[in-house]
């Protein structure tokens, strides 16, 4: 079914058991992002030191796609150099804009290539990008 390309099992796993969810008291930057069209919200706490993403914790409400995406994004960028994290972010963003034409770079995105199917559903791309945009905002503020 077409739907299975959207709701990959790994996405539903992250939705049911999200990683790094629950805000940590220690952070350098906190951002809140929302999606005004559907009401999804995420608050993201970021710690960064010597150009390395030291920690991400987050909380939020939203659909399976948005919540699983924040969870997987956190897994991917924690302990990465900022420049590498941006590379991953850009790769994910272009995957979302691929209209179903790209499978994604598995070396960079690992399990997050499961979101490739989302790019075929225009209304869901914003869901998948919510946490990534929060990370982009927080990390660029931290690096200023």
């Amino acid at each position: 079914m077409e739907l299975d390309s959207l709701y990959q099992e790994v996405i539903l796993d992250h939705y049911r058991n999200p990683h790094h969810k629950g805000l940590s008291g220690e952070f350098d930057v906190q951002v809140k992002h929302n999606n005004p069209s559907c009401g999804d919200e995420v608050t993201l706490n970021l710690s960064i030191s010597n150009g390395v993403i030291k920690g991400i914790s987050w909380d939020g409400v939203g659909c399976s796609i948005s919540m699983a995406s924040v969870s997987m994004m956190s897994d991917l960028v924690i302990d990465q150099q900022y420049s590498r994290a941006v590379e991953i972010l850009n790769q994910f963003t272009s995957l979302m804009q691929s209209k179903g034409q790209s499978k994604g770079d598995e070396e960079l995105l690992e399990d997050a290539v499961a979101f490739a199917g989302v790019s075929k559903f225009p209304a869901r791309i914003k869901c998948a990008l919510l946490g990534w945009m929060a990370f982009k905002d927080a990390s660029s503020q931290a690096m200023e």
């Binding site: 077409e2 559907c38 009401g39 559903f121």
Partner: protein, 416 residues
């Protein structure tokens, strides 16, 4: 039982298939309705045969266009029991409400529309953003205070504090006729009586009522109503603002420009008679004509038949949902003072995911906060899934939705 099945074939869009090769089960009429062929043809025929700027020009087309546009006004006015000069075309209900709020802003001190610090504007927690933000911002511009009726846990307007909320300071009461989320219909007479006793202006957001049941402005005892064409089988780009003639005459215009003037010099201008005083610029003529065709179409079926048909569907859906484990209706669960909009949540599944799976079965619903974010917060839900009906829906659509929700639950493996 009212049977409107024969009218389905009048809607071209219902003939197409959607995702999964399914027939379209369109349950999003609360957002916008589908259009019958006669409306599409009326709009297109205007462009094909009569297109010309109304109220200008010395040629045949200008005459025909003006006649078509003014006949549309007459037809719409009659539909809501209004006088012709009181019926103003706008581009949308949103514009109608903003036009009021800005006209009030433009009024001189001493006018009954003039607001200042110490005055109060009363809305409710169940307002669509279109009947909340214009008033919230008017309050900010003028120093008036925005107050609101709360909503009960059952999803009804809480009138228990009405005598405190409608007081001598209340200048405007802006309220929805029917919640676009909960389906609950506002008990208007209590509100209009209280408003009248303190001389407050009552503005009614009739977007969810005019398309679905009889609305007669003479019986309602309100001062202004706003509604849109596209929710009542008509085109987008056309809305209506109705107001009492004496108030419209006293109220300053909001949009200035061509058509709305009586005379103009470099220094000053005077305004045209109603309704043109509030219709600056070349209006959405083809859309007004399309709306008039929609009114004819509704009249042919009978608005009371449409209402009864939608009631039957709502009753069937509420009964079906009541039997489903893990599904909760957000809003009244009985048919008393309730329209054909049913919001619900499914335990363990976000509305967006509910809507996505339903879409796979050809079922089009609305998900999210429905432009009523404060209401979602009050009800402590992130959003809802909403099914809303119009005359072209059938009992089979209700069955499809109920089956679809069961599919959603099994797809996400939630415990029923």
């Amino acid at each position: 039982m009212i049977d409107l099945t024969k009218y389905l074939e009048d809607f071209p869009i219902l003939q197409r298939t959607v995702r999964g090769g399914n027939r379209l089960v369109y349950l999003d009429s609360g957002a916008t309705s589908q259009k019958p062929e006669v409306v599409i043809a009326a709009e297109s025929n205007f462009y094909r045969k009569h297109n010309s700027a109304v109220h200008r020009g010395a040629h045949l087309l200008a005459e025909e266009a003006s006649l078509a546009y003014e006949s549309a006004r007459e037809n719409v006015a009659k539909f809501i029991g209004a006088e012709i000069v009181e019926t103003i075309f706008t581009k949308s209900a949103t514009e109608s409400i903003n036009a009021l709020a800005y006209s009030f802003s433009n009024s001189e001190p001493g006018s009954k529309f003039h607001l200042k610090s110490g005055d109060e504007i009363l809305v409710s927690e169940m307002e669509h953003h279109a009947n909340l933000i214009p008033w919230q911002q008017l309050a900010k511009r003028t120093g008036a205070k925005l107050r609101w009726f709360e909503v009960t846990p059952e999803g009804r307007l809480d009138l228990s504090k009405i005598s405190e909320l409608i007081n001598k300071k209340t200048k405007i009461v802006a309220i929805t006729h029917q919640s676009n989320v909960l389906g609950s219909i506002t008990p208007l007479s209590k509100i209009t009586a209280a408003a009248k006793s303190v001389g407050a202006i009552v503005v009614l957001d009739a977007c969810q009522s005019v398309p679905h049941f009889e609305v007669n402005v003479k019986k309602l005892d309100v001062d202004f109503i706003a509604f849109s064409g596209h929710k009542m089988l008509g085109p987008t780009g056309i809305g209506v603002l109705w107001g009492r003639q004496s108030l419209l005459e006293e109220m300053p215009p909001f949009l200035f420009g061509g058509s709305m003037i009586d005379s103009v010099t470099m220094e000053q201008s005077t305004w045209a008679e109603l309704p043109r005083k509030f219709e600056a610029g070349v209006p959405n003529m083809a859309q007004a004509v399309g709306l008039s065709a929609a009114v004819d179409y509704i009249n042919q079926i009978g608005i009371s038949n449409i209402h009864e048909h939608e009631n039957q569907l709502t009753k069937a859906l509420l009964a079906g949902l009541a039997h489903m484990q893990g599904v909760k209706v957000i809003g009244p669960t009985d048919l008393t003072e309730r329209g054909a909009v049913v919001s619900f949540t499914v335990d363990g599944i976000h509305p967006h995911d509910v809507g996505q799976v339903l879409d796979q079965y050809g079922i089009a619903v609305r998900t999210g906060h429905h432009c009523a974010w404060p209401l979602m917060r009050k009800l402590n839900v992130v959003g809802t899934t909403r099914a809303s009906f119009h005359l072209y829906n059938s009992i089979s659509d209700v069955e499809k939705l109920l089956e679809g929700i069961a599919q959603v639950q099994s797809y996400f493996k939630v415990n029923k």
